[in-house]
Symmetry: C2
């Protein structure tokens, strides 16, 4: 299937949170897999320092946007969001910060 639309979530993890972060994805909810227009995703761990990348492929930008405002989005991020909330309630720095960027596949 042709992959046309790509969303990458660039995630900076605090060092103490990296093991937990990786474990969340190793046991992920797979809520995103049920979304119409979702093709596949990969979780990329940087060699050395740097950000983790969550790369997801979609049939269209609309399919991606529908997901970001869906109950599945909240379900899929539940444990991570709880970790962030807990840190904030304890007056601590968030264990991760993320930035979404989107792309069009223009060549293979």
């Amino acid at each position: 299937m042709e992959k046309k639309f790509v969303a990458i979530n660039y995630i900076h993890c605090e060092p103490h949170y990296r093991e937990r972060f990786e474990q969340l994805f190793a046991t992920r909810a797979h809520a995103i897999d049920r979304m119409p227009g979702f093709i596949d995703m990969q979780v990329l761990k940087p060699n050395g320092e740097g950000e983790y990348l969550i790369v997801s492929h979609w049939k269209s930008e609309e399919a991606f946007k529908t997901w970001t405002s869906s109950p599945e989005f909240l379900e899929g991020h539940k444990r991570g969001f709880e970790d962030v909330k807990k840190a904030r309630e304890q007056g601590m720095k968030s264990p991760m910060q993320s930035t979404f960027k989107t792309y069009e596949v223009i060549a293979h």
Copy 2:
């Protein structure tokens, strides 16, 4: 096929060079496709401003490293390297700057 090793080339293009850059990939040499251990690649164009991403999947880090020092690497980048060389000879800023980062796929 399982994708274990990923290399991303982050490329900043000067605005005047973006059309040429995209055309180079639309008509790419496919030299990389002949490398042992190469799986596939995608060229990602940012929505809005930002860097282009050349994402390549490899069976192993060794396969990727073999490629970066191969004749195919020079062949595949020939036209781009010539553009950079020409700009420098004319005392102009390079039309693009690139940075490689490598990753391990830890989840799907």
